[in-house]
């Protein structure tokens, strides 16, 4: 350890690694930039995917920034901040996770030469904060609202937003197809805040195009006992009974024991037990329900009983699915079969068991309350469907966001260029150091269009210059110009319907600036020797956002 080479007053415990000052700051910035480099190539419609393979043998192929960051398992304390902002972006708006990491990395990169030159980090932080506030104001000003449009029009606009998100994903080739599905699903659940009302079911096999949206609930056929095949598999307007009890012949009390002194009583005990279950089944049948679902097992006896009475039953339906059926059909889950009145029974237009790929699915469609929707995703491989699910999740979040804060901004780097221009202009009015910093902030924002070009294999400098020229037009006509990913030129993103909800950008800029400021404000790391053995995890969380030092004192062997 180099710290040992010079005489020093020993303040801390032996082995404690403490590094401080400028070099430490620079080293933190370097680490963050390295992480941003990992996700850099995933940005945009021509972005690439990452295959991450962990020790357990699970493989993930993803293009989603937050997923990649999470799976990278980063332990560097400063770099961890980037993981956190990606996560927060994911939970807050659901999309733009790559953008936020990239922006934070770029802000830090721009700050690095200043730090090297001896600028006090607090100066930088102050200017960055100002710049971010200005940028957010500008976004709000530029955003156009889709409020007040008719439902049809609104649907189309929302589909455009969803399509923009999807275009960078693996299912980008079918983005229109999925975008409409997503919009339908989101509109179906209405203003309901529960996202779990949108179910996503994955069935390997088939092509993406075979995916479909059920306006209701669908789930895989549950485990069934003999006699199941004799039940009817299709009902129009059935009544649905939802249960949370076992319909099985079993001992009613776990620890009860019966002592019989007279063998003749034997039959009565047996009968009593059978009567209990028959009583339950009779009540189910009498309620008029044609479909009986239970979260717990429905035994072979009950299956055959229902088969005899032309009733469909499914046991061990997962909690989530049962709740969805309840919400969709307007029924309530019962914990007893006593007093089953009509009000607690749900209904739907059509219940059907259908073959999907290699599986049979129970599908409830045309539900009265209509507040649920289920995607049935198809695809050639498990990883493929997993990634499709993540992409759809992003798209769903975006559409929901766009519905709530119904303002959109042009994508394709257009909004970033416009803010950048605005900040540069603003910077010229400031006297003092701050001018430089805001200018560099503005430069950092250009990373989005630049990376879009790089990923697509275009000449970034050329495209950026064209964009700058457009955005600098005094009339302001060029404000919506962004990278045209198809031709390698520039195009009006707004007119081409490359739209993002403004909240995505606002949140991204906010989070990225915060993260950059946080990293900049750290000037000392004290690393406890004990944490070395604990491989960072406990240490990192205990030390919060502290940097790790100059990469010294690492025991590499």
């Amino acid at each position: 350890m180099s710290a040992m080479m010079q005489p020093q007053i020993i303040l801390l415990k032996e082995g404690t690694d403490a590094s401080q000052g400028k070099p430490q700051l620079i080293s933190n910035i370097n680490a963050c930039m390295a992480v941003a480099d990992v996700v850099r190539t995933t940005l945009g419609p021509r972005g690439m995917d990452k295959l991450i393979h962990n020790e357990k043998g699970n493989t993930t192929i993803s293009n989603d920034g937050a997923t990649i960051m999470k799976l990278l398992d980063i332990i560097h304390p400063a770099a961890k901040i980037l993981v956190d902002i990606a996560k927060s972006q994911d939970s807050e708006v659901g999309d733009g996770t790559t953008t936020v990491v990239l922006l934070a990395g770029e802000f830090l990169k721009e700050a690095k030469p200043f730090v090297d030159d001896g600028v006090h980090p607090q100066n930088l932080i102050r200017s960055y904060r100002t710049a971010s506030n200005l940028a957010i104001e500008k976004i709000k000003e530029l955003a156009s609202s889709i409020e007040g449009k008719s439902l049809e029009e609104k649907k189309k606009l929302l589909a455009k937003c969803a399509a923009t998100t999807l275009s960078s994903k693996l299912i980008g080739g079918e983005k229109e197809f999925f975008a409409t599905m997503v919009v339908d699903a989101v509109l179906a659940i209405g203003n309901e805040d529960r996202l779990n009302m949108i179910g996503i079911k994955k069935v390997p096999g088939g092509t993406m195009r075979d995916s479909f949206l059920v306006n209701g609930v669908a789930f895989k056929k549950t485990f069934s006992y003999a006699g199941f095949e004799q039940q009817p598999k299709k009902f129009v307007n059935p009544k649905i009974l939802l249960l949370n009890i076992e319909l099985e012949l079993k001992s009613e009390k776990e620890n009860a024991e019966i002592r019989l002194s007279d063998p003749l009583q034997y039959q009565s005990i047996v009968d009593a037990e059978w009567n209990i279950i028959y009583d339950k089944l009779d009540k189910c049948a009498k309620s008029g329900a044609k479909v009986v679902l239970s979260r717990l097992a429905i035994g072979d006896l009950a299956t055959q009983y229902f088969a005899d009475r032309d009733i469909f039953c499914a046991g061990r339906v997962s909690e989530e699915d049962l709740q969805r059926v309840a919400a969709a059909s307007g029924g309530t889950v019962q914990t007893t079969v006593n007093n089953v009145v009509d009000e607690v029974l749900g209904t739907c237009d059509l219940f059907e068991e259908r073959q999907v790929g290699n599986e049979r699915f129970n599908i409830f469609s045309g539900c009265p309350s209509g507040r649920t929707a289920t995607f049935v995703l198809r695809g050639g491989a498990d990883q493929f469907i997993e990634e499709a699910e993540r992409s759809l999740h992003d798209a769903i979040m975006i559409v929901r966001r766009a519905m709530k804060n119904s303002t959109v901004v042009p994508g394709g780097g257009a909004i970033d260029m416009e803010i950048s221009r605005y900040l540069r202009q603003h910077a010229r009015t400031i006297a003092g150091k701050s001018q430089l910093f805001i200018n560099s902030y503005a430069k950092a924002l250009e990373v989005i269009p630049r990376q879009l070009c790089d990923n697509a294999g275009f000449d970034a400098t050329d495209v950026l210059n064209k964009l700058r020229q457009k955005h600098a037009l005094p009339s302001g006509d060029g404000a919506a110009y962004g990278v045209d990913i198809n031709t390698g030129g520039i195009a009006d993103s707004f007119a081409n319907f490359v739209w993002e909800p403004s909240v995505v950008k606002i949140n991204a800029i906010n989070a990225a600036t915060e993260a950059a400021c946080l990293v900049l404000s750290v000037d000392e790391t004290v690393k406890n020797p004990k944490s070395e053995s604990a491989q960072g995890e406990a240490a990192a969380s205990a030390m919060g956002g502290r940097g790790r030092g100059r990469g010294r004192g690492m025991r590499r062997r």
Partner: protein
């Protein structure tokens, strides 16, 4: 692996245990992935077509499988490489959805990757290649629709169905009796098909096999075969017009589920208990007799006492019949599964025209046939063959044939086989390529080349000159403007696939193209592979 170095050249520790991880990125990652995908495809390449070879696979516990079914080979190979696994899943997807063409889809994906590699070397962006492939796959998809033929079949005229199933079977080891097997498959599917809903529940077709006999003895039974024998050797071996009681309750005194104890302290009590037990048996048998049952099929066993009683009362019985079989029997005979003796009524009995026990050859094995059922919605295909491996392979082949028949019932369109559809698509895609400006044009053209891989492999496997044959057929297709010239694998003397009656289902072919393109896109999109280094 290290992501970054500080100014002294020391790596940062950014990832957990990063020394133990390896990372491959950029073009290297793509090349490595493509190589893995190609390797898997190369293994299957020789299995394609009627003259394709089989693979022998030995599992860790010594079990041997011989097959040329793509999905099965890949499944058993236990591929470890990540990209290899994607190919395995690709084949499985085809198997789930279509059931046939599992080899073709992998060969096709492999050849798409091979073409992509060439384009990557020329510096084309991988996403552009993928996009080009997607455009091309759509062209091919539509072209297939155009060249597809619809054909009509009815319950009386099943010839086209049989022909198509024969094409599938011809590539299997069982091809010497493909005609009879195809007939069996088609009849079985038609028996269980719901022609109105165009739905076929393959669960209703039971495929049973028994070692011994020869493949030609394979038969279709409109009913069920149970690999059991009568519970008592002296029971009648044949029952005409059987009324079957299908029971899920055992022939024994009922037991309460609650823990119980019977206190017996006197001899009298023991006597009563004993009598009661006997009475139970008696009642049960009587009950069955009363409702008119002439055969009892029971999910559970019964002890010798009950067996003896049944024998005495002239009530044949079969015990230990599995739940799935029981269900099929119930469906086939139109009976109801009865969980309790008290519920037994005459209406719940199943009806079968003939129930017989059949012995095979010199072995002691016997099976019970339940035939001429009231409702023959459940059928059994009973396979005979020289050894277990043969029977397993036949089962898989029959499964493929069943799937093909099912697909035809769902969608009546067919295309011609023998690689003719691929060649025709290749020509169409090639022609369409020139209309696309930009880099995609190259990718589309590469797609057309990749399509040629299937007829090429067919020719190669059949011992023909691949390039010569392919170009001859291709020029013939263009010259005569037809889409049914294929590779003459069987050396019949004509490459007109209509005459050879080589058909494939349209949806199967379309699915192959779409699935292969999808997976190739996925592989091309990866530019960064992070994995633990011991892999």
């Amino acid at each position: 692996m290290a992501l970054a170095f500080d100014e002294y050249g020391r790596p940062f520790i950014i990832l957990r245990e990063q020394d133990q991880k390896t990372r491959l990125r950029g073009l290297d990652a793509q090349k490595a992935n493509i190589a893995a995908g190609k390797a898997v495809a190369r293994i299957l390449r020789t299995s394609l077509g009627p003259k394709g070879m089989d693979k022998m696979l030995q599992s860790p516990d010594g079990e041997v499988t011989i097959t040329n079914d793509g999905a099965t080979i890949l499944e058993q190979m236990d591929v470890d490489n990540q990209i290899g696994k994607l190919m395995v899943e690709l084949s499985r997807s085809q198997d789930y959805e279509i059931g046939d063409g599992t080899t073709g889809v992998v060969v096709m994906a492999g050849s798409l990757l091979e073409q992509a590699e060439k384009l990557l070397e020329r510096g084309i962006h991988p996403i552009r290649i993928a996009e080009g492939y997607e455009v091309a796959s759509r062209i091919a998809f539509e072209h297939l629709e155009q060249i597809a033929n619809k054909f009509e079949f009815s319950a009386a005229n099943v010839e086209p169905l049989i022909q198509t199933c024969m094409t599938t079977l011809s590539s299997k080891i069982v091809n010497r009796c493909k005609r009879s097997l195809a007939e069996i498959a088609v009849k079985a599917v038609l028996a269980v098909a719901d022609l109105e809903r165009r739905d076929v529940n393959l669960d209703l077709i039971k495929v049973e096999g028994k070692v011994g006999g020869k493949l030609e003895d394979t038969e279709l039974i409109y009913g069920i075969i149970v690999d059991k024998d009568m519970s008592h050797p002296q029971m009648p071996k044949q029952i005409v017009d059987a009324n079957i009681a299908i029971l899920t309750c055992p022939f024994e005194p009922p037991k309460p589920k609650t823990k119980h104890k019977v206190d017996i302290d006197t001899v009298e009590k023991f006597q009563t208990l004993r009598q009661q037990e006997q009475k139970y048996f008696d009642d049960m048998v009587q009950k069955c007799k009363d409702v008119g049952a002439t055969l009892v099929i029971c999910q559970w066993g019964f002890d010798d006492e009950a067996n003896h009683l049944l024998m005495n009362r002239d009530l044949p019985a079969i015990r230990w019949v599995g739940g799935v079989e029981l269900e099929l029997i119930a469906i086939a005979t139109g009976g109801r599964i009865v969980p309790r003796f008290q519920e037994l009524t005459t209406e719940k009995l199943g009806k079968a025209g003939l129930v017989r026990e059949k012995a095979f050859g010199t072995t002691k094995d016997r099976m019970i046939y339940i035939e001429h059922c009231a409702n023959s919605r459940a059928v059994t295909i009973f396979i005979r063959g020289g050894n277990k491996m043969m029977i397993e392979e036949t089962k898989r082949s029959i499964h493929d044939a069943l799937c093909v028949a099912r697909n035809l019932i769902r969608n009546k369109s067919i295309v011609y086989g023998g690689g003719s559809a691929e060649i025709s698509c290749s020509i169409a895609v090639e022609a369409a390529a020139d209309k696309y400006p930009g880099v995609e044009q190259y990718a589309i053209r590469a797609f057309a080349d990749a399509l040629d891989a299937i007829p090429m492999a067919l020719a190669e496997n059949s011992g023909l000159q691949p390039i010569e044959t392919l170009s001859a057929v291709k020029s013939q297709q263009i010259k005569e403007n037809n889409s049914y010239c294929g590779i003459d694998c069987n050396d019949v003397g004509t490459n007109d696939m209509r005459e050879q009656n080589v058909f494939e289902t349209l949806i199967g072919k379309q699915q192959q193209i779409l699935l292969a393109t999808q997976v190739v896109k996925m592989i091309l999109k990866i530019d960064d592979v992070i994995s633990p280094s011991d892999y």
